[in-house]
Amino acid sequence: MTDLLFVLFSALALLCGFLTVANPFTRSPVASALFLVLTMVWLAGLFVLLHAFFIAAVQILVYAGAVMVLFLFVIMLLDLREEERRRWNRFGVAAGLISVLGLLGITAVTLLRATPDGTGDAQLEGATHALGLMLFRQYLLPFEIVSVLLLVAMLGVILLSKRELK
């Protein structure tokens, strides 16, 4: 049962992920955004199979529920036709390649390090309590760095939008 669901969820996640970036039927950004939402949902399903309920819920809540809605919001306000016309952009390709390669690297390292039979860090499973303790004790520094990163992004947005006002 679990295996079946795993295959189902990962296949759907891959399919939706593919349709997000290269949809053969339409180049509409809204469709891409929605497929990205679906990808998030299937990913959350995978997390549930891993008994990581907290991460699954947060995945839906934050990514599908908030971030993607903002994406949609912005996409709807933009001029879509221009976006549909444009094809390649050197900077975009370079940035995309770099991030994909980086992600590949991280995944490869993690996979190589993983023990084939172990269940990984059992503490991170399920219980929100344990997860919270880990986040605020063991991984406090990375956690804070990420929040500072978000703060920087926020400040950047404020700066950019205010400059246009002037």
Partner: protein, 356 residues
């Protein structure tokens, strides 16, 4: 696979679904009746099916109370012409109504609507992250509206969709922050634990322990369900119905009923989080039921609390005028979010002092 578990879960899902759909239908009736009474009218009192005559004594009374009106409404929604305007984006136009309806129903899965019947806990899924699940699902509710606005491909629905996405995101934050103190008090995200923490006395109810949290949650709930005074995505008088302007027949009905289903699930959340769920602090009704009758009584208590809150929400619609959009945003970002944050800090501080 545990077949017994599957069978019981299926039964619970079916029963809850049936009850909630009936409640939705009758919530519409209550809304119409309450609004009629407030506006010196009588409300629906004519729906008169052929069999009403054969009900002794009560028959005509039921007709006058409009008990059969939901049936007529449903029939009308099904039989009406389902019109698809030529300019809409078909795919989104079709999935939007479903997306508006489903999240509201999904939320109910984690609400404990009673203690126990026999050995069965009266909750469909007793998740450890219960409340996060609800918030996750609630946050998906916005897609139905945004997509409806986008699919309709005309100006008023589009404005409605844009408004709703901004409004829902803003108030989701306030809503999420407002309940954190409650969970600080309880120490668990599981909704059954939340109810357990509110047993004992009336003052243990979180509405008395955390009035600020309750108030913020209440207001955010109005905004999340698009009810007046925050119904800007629909705003009949400005946007001729907002996101569902282009819809007709059953698709419109899905939006309409989705709103009431969302109301029910949000009220159920409030009952669970702030009003002690299925407990009452007298006669030992705050302990899980030992017998069948007490179990049923608990369900009844939950149901009654839910109805009181629903009528309250409905009443507010006819009491307060709609806010302006900038007032809404101002209220959300500059009033409620700081208040909710301060509430978290104060609660955490007090708890830390007490545990010292």
């Amino acid at each position: 696979m545990d077949w017994q578990f599957l069978a019981f879960s299926l039964a619970k899902i079916l029963v809850v679904f049936a009850v909630v759909m009936t409640m939705v239908a009758y919530a519409v009736l209550v809304e119409r009746k309450v609004s009629a009474f407030i506006q010196d009218r009588v409300g629906p009192n004519r729906a008169n099916p052929f069999f009403a005559r054969y009900i002794p004594y009560l028959g005509m009374k039921l007709v006058r109370w409009g008990i059969f009106q939901p049936m007529a409404d449903a029939l009308k929604a099904i039989l009406k012409e389902d019109y698809t305007p030529a300019h809409v984006r078909k795919v989104y136009f079709w999935i939007a109504p479903a997306l508006a309806m489903v999240p509201a129903l999904l939320t109910l899965a984690v609400i404990p609507f009673g203690s126990q019947l026999g050995a069965q806990k009266m909750v469909i899924a007793d998740l450890d992250v219960g409340v996060l699940y609800t918030f996750g699902i609630v946050s998906l509710g916005v897609y139905g509206i945004v997509l409806a606005g986008y699919a309709a491909n005309s100006k008023y629905p589009f404005l409605g969709g844009i408004r709703s996405s901004a409004q829902m995101i803003s108030y989701e934050i306030a809503m999420g922050l407002s309940v954190i103190p409650v969970f600080l008090l309880v120490g668990s995200l599981n909704l059954s634990d939340v109810i357990g923490a509110q047993s004992g006395s009336l003052l243990a109810w979180h509405v008395f322990k955390q009035p600020v949290a309750f108030f913020v949650f209440l207001v955010a709930a109005f905004a999340e369900t698009n009810r007046l005074p925050f119904d800007l995505p629909e705003a009949e008088t400005e946007l001729v119905g907002g996101y569902h302007t282009e819809y007709s027949s059953m698709k419109f009905a899905l939006f309409f009923l989705g709103e009431y289903a969302a109301m029910i699930s949000v009220s159920a959340m409030m009952v669970t989080l702030f009003f002690g769920g299925w407990t009452l602090p007298f006669l030992g009704l705050d302990q899980p039921a030992q017998s069948l009758w007490v179990g049923l009584l608990h369900i009844l208590i939950f149901f009654l609390k839910l109805c009181v809150l629903l009528v309250g929400i409905i009443w507010v619609r006819w009491m307060l005028p709609r806010f302006r959009y900038d007032q809404l945003m101002d209220l959300g970002w500059r009033r409620f979010i700081p208040v909710a944050l301060a509430n978290i800090v104060v609660t955490a501080g007090v708890l830390a002092m007490m545990h010292r």
